[in-house]
Each structure stands twice: as C-alpha cells, then as structure tokens.
Symmetry: C2
Amino acid sequence: MAETLRLKSPADFIGKQGNGVISFGSGQPDLPPPKEAFEGLDLRKDLRYGLIQGELKLREALALEYPGSTADHFVITNGASEALDLIFRGWGKGEKVLLPRPYYYSYPPIIELAGMVPVYTDLIDGRIDIEDFRKKVQGCRAVLINSPSNPTGRVEDIATLKEIEKITAKLGVYVVSDEVYKDLIYERENYHIQGDHVITVNSFSKTYAMCGVRVGYLWSADKSIVENVCEMKTHTSMNTNLVGQDMALSAMRAPKEYIRQQQQIWRERRDFIYKGFCDLGFELWRPEGAFYILPKCKNAREFLTVLYQDYKVITYLGEWFGAPGHLRLSYALDVKMIEEGLNRIQMAMKKVQVL
Amino acid sequence: MAETLRLKSPADFIGKQGNGVISFGSGQPDLPPPKEAFEGLDLRKDLRYGLIQGELKLREALALEYPGSTADHFVITNGASEALDLIFRGWGKGEKVLLPRPYYYSYPPIIELAGMVPVYTDLIDGRIDIEDFRKKVQGCRAVLINSPSNPTGRVEDIATLKEIEKITAKLGVYVVSDEVYKDLIYERENYHIQGDHVITVNSFSKTYAMCGVRVGYLWSADKSIVENVCEMKTHTSMNTNLVGQDMALSAMRAPKEYIRQQQQIWRERRDFIYKGFCDLGFELWRPEGAFYILPKCKNAREFLTVLYQDYKVITYLGEWFGAPGHLRLSYALDVKMIEEGLNRIQMAMKKVQVL
C-alpha cells in the first residue's frame, strides 16, 4: 500500500477534482445560482470606491430580513470569512473565545491570527453541552457558534440557543453567530439568536450558490462593533467588490420557492447518504441542516489515503475539524455521484478496518 | 466663523460629495475604465470557490508584465490593501517596519493592526534620505516604500531605489514596494525594484480606473511569502471575487495607448494645478507621478474647515499622512473643476492666513 498521505488541511485538496474524482470534500453548493442573480444584473460602468460599510440598497434589502433592523446594523464583507476576521481583530489580544468542538476548520486560525485564544467546549452527541458551556464561558470575551454546523450537520435546539442568549447577556460576553447555513435546515425554521451582544455573520454563498463572488455580511445592533469593523476595513480591504454586491442584490429577488426547491434537493441527498452510511455500518449523526456528515472511522488517515489514491474519492479528516477518529464528508453532489462514491467506499472498506 | 471641524481621517469625508462640492480628497481616478473591461467580459455562471491564490489566467497574464516571473509568483487580493494587510500579518509581532514619512494614511494602521511597529525616516524635499534610511533600517523586518507616492506625488530616483535594493539585500530586510501608481509617472518609466527580498504590491484600481472592483495583487519570488499569504487568506477571505478577476483580465486587453492617453490627461491636470498653487503663493513639490499635491499650509485645519463649510471644497489634512503644516489634495478632477476649486481656494485665503 502507498504511504499514508501527510495532508494537513482541506487546502491540500483544492484543485484536485475532475478526472473521475468524486469529492466529498468541498463545502459549497454544486447547484447553480438562481437565474435572478444574472437576469436583473445591470453591470455598473462607474467603478469608483463604494461605501466601506457596503452599498445602501443591499443593506436596506437585508434589513427587511432582520426584523427591527436598519441598514446601519450591517457591514458587507468579503464573504463570512472577512466578517469573522474583522470581528475578532477588533478585540483584545490574549482574550478568550469559546468554541464548541468539533468546529469549522477556519475558526481556530481566525481567532489565533487575531491574537485571541480559543477555548473549547466539547459537543455531546453533536450538541452544545449547556452545563460545560456555562463553566467555560466564564472570562471569555466572546463565543462563536455555528448552527447549522459544518462539520456536524447538527442544528442546536431553540431552547439551547435561548439559554446561550441569556447566559452571555448576563456575563456581558459577545455571541458571534455564524448562520451561513440558515436557509439549509431540514427540520425547522432557523432561530435567529438575538440581543445587543449578538453579532450575526451571514453570507450569500450557500443560500444562493455563489461562494466565488465573496459577499457576506455581519449584523450587529452594537454601533461600536459596526464602526470598529468599518474603521479596520478602511485599511485592510476598503469596500467589498461592487459587482459582487450587485449580484447579491439581484439574487435576493429570487422567489422563496427557489430556496424551498433547493432544500428539497438537499433533503433527498441527506436521506440517501445517511442511509448509505448506516447500511455500511458507520456510526453517524443524521444531519438536520447544512450538508455534512461526520461518521466515526477507525484508521481515518489510512482510509482517506486509500480512498483517494486507489478509488479517487476525496474525504476530509475529522481531526481538521477537532474530531479525530472521524471522517468529514460533504454531500454537495448529485445522488448518482453519491451512490458511486458509496460503492467505492464499500470497496475500500475491504482494505482498511474502519468500523 | 464656525467651529473648526474635528475630522480625524479621510474616512470622515466619504460620501460627502455631490451638491456642488468640489472634492480634492478622493484618491481614485474619476475617468472611466477602458471599454475592454466590459466588452470582453463573459460573466461566468458557475460561481463556486476559485483558487485562493487567484485565477491562473490572470496570474499568467500578469507574469508577462514581470520579466522572469511565473504565475506562481503572484497572489490576487482584494485590492492592494489586502495584499499589504496579509504581508504584514505574516511577520512577527513587535517587529519593526521602516516607513518613509509622509506616508499613505493607511500604512501605520495596517502595520499596527498586524502587531508590528512602524518606525519612520523623514523625507527630505519629498525624497528618501538614504543616509537616514541606512541607519533606521537596522533591525527592521521590512521597509514599505511607495513610489510614485501618495501623498507627495514624488517618484524616487532610480539610483535611490537601487541603493535600497542593495542595503536591504545585505541586511536580509524585506522591501514591500507599493507600486499602485506605476503607470502614472510623468517623467520616466517605472523602475521595478527587484530581488528575492522584494514583495511588490500592485492593483488594477488606478491603472484601469476600477477601484471599486477591489482587485490587487502581490508579487514575490519568495515561495514562503506566497504560501504564507495563501494560507492566511484561506481563513480570512478565501479567493478574491471571481467576477472582479474576470474584469481585471478583460481590462488588461486595453491597448497601451489607453494608458498613454490617461497619462496625457493627468499631465495636463498636474501642470494646471501645480501652476495654480504656485500662482497663489503656496510652496509645494511638482508632482512626478500619481495625482497628489502636498502644499505647505499654515492653520491647515482652520483652512480645511473654511474651505469645506463656506466654499464646499474638500481637502485632506497633511497630518493624516504624517505631514502636519500641509494640506493634501488629489487632482482626480477635470480641469474645469480644478479651476473652480482654485477660485474658491483663492477666496478662502482671504479668511485664513495660510502662507
């Protein structure tokens, strides 16, 4: 057998698709953006700097989706990534940020790049353990939550989210709520966690299948957060690209039916991959949102290597997401591809003991 | 007279144009982008993530402009701003960066946000004092130079640039060379400062009048710099927006004649505003590149206030650029507007003693 791959992060797989490769790696929709993203688009000919905070029309359109909000509560950013980066950079060096584990793989580096220190609360059965949360949140400047979650596919209970709201409000701890999968919930509506101490991070990437356009945003009722982020952004990237903002505004004209249709496709895939992995004998959580599964897997790195080298199947290591002993798979693939992937996984299971 | 404005930075003037205001503030071309930026543009319908490093075709096109380079030497960023931000974030906290003063107003905050410490070498007559440079550069991790310069309008002598190359190479100090005005030199061709210890920062914003699209890049022959920037960018913003990159590639199809024609317009404006300010009695340097003047001005804040409140003329304080006792003006305006602005300035000079 070939030597076990020394991959260090998902970035090692970028650009490795095509040529019969089936990738369960990529965290982005494979479906096309809504036609409205292009149809309504009137490409501006004046390409001078825009407002650092983001185009007013786009922020006004967003305010309609956040009850009680105005355009002033939003900053348009280069994807959710930049929103997170600037939020944490605005806080003090050495301060603590509480992070449920497993986590999205960029969270610890973003927090550390800002000079802050991640501390962890381990999920129980894929959900926040509110008693551990209550202990660990003491002395933190902020918590970062992600529901629906990449990589767990779990959606936190509304009762838990409300309890988090309450605990943090009492302690004066900020809640950074990354809700980029808010329109990809199979079980119920999103609960939008609220309060003056809440900073919501969101994006057009997943809802409208336009990851490469890099338009995200943050929402905050705390004026000092908005101003501080804009001040930093003036120096670190200026306005978010104007053409992308135009496309985002156009995409928002897509009917609600577009989002429902997308959800139907995702639900079908979810059911298919979940059953497939159960049938193969894996232990895993049934996804309630987003498009990820995180099955338990012995010898995960060896299995990943065999899958990639012998069967052209890309998977990610759970350990990149703080979940050693697991594999993390995205099901942003059509059902036929998922089926073929499952067949290959079944064959690879004869070579590596994974259960 | 009204109270003197307590403006703190150029950002306080953003969005204050229109309604008969003449703005000498804004550091961006008022001219339109070349028609090629739109004509050749085939808006992609697949908007999935692109390469973090930037689209290969765009980097290949850039490599043709940098002799001896390949696409691997470039990272496409959200404007020159993000390139600078990521470069400095890659270095050690507390390390020193040498900065000629006056400087572009975002430089100190970018360096400080990265946890580094700016140290200054004062320009003499708008040019780097190589003896002071030689002393101050000792113990620095990097120097940041900007020729042609915002706010001085000066272009460093080729002999000086070569001496900087040599001194820094010997000491193992990086040179970050911000050349966003490289195509806006009135006197001679740009000298592209070179070496494995050089990181060039550039942009499509000024050359092609597309600031709002936010496409810039860095060039480095040092693989570790390129890799480190890409690693950080994976977490902090992902790929630079794909539509903007398409527009940048399209814009590069504009003939060299486009750039020459632009230069002709800028030269005419330069001559007009320089003569105008000399005739009014101001002491200032004749711009050799970019589109800024930095006249000496007594009671600068008071004069700025009168100009803005009584004459609807926006100027920037030299102190925002490390040049107290000066005003900084951009001449990204057509000659008729510059003329009207000069008339208003002449009137305002009757109210405030500036010479």
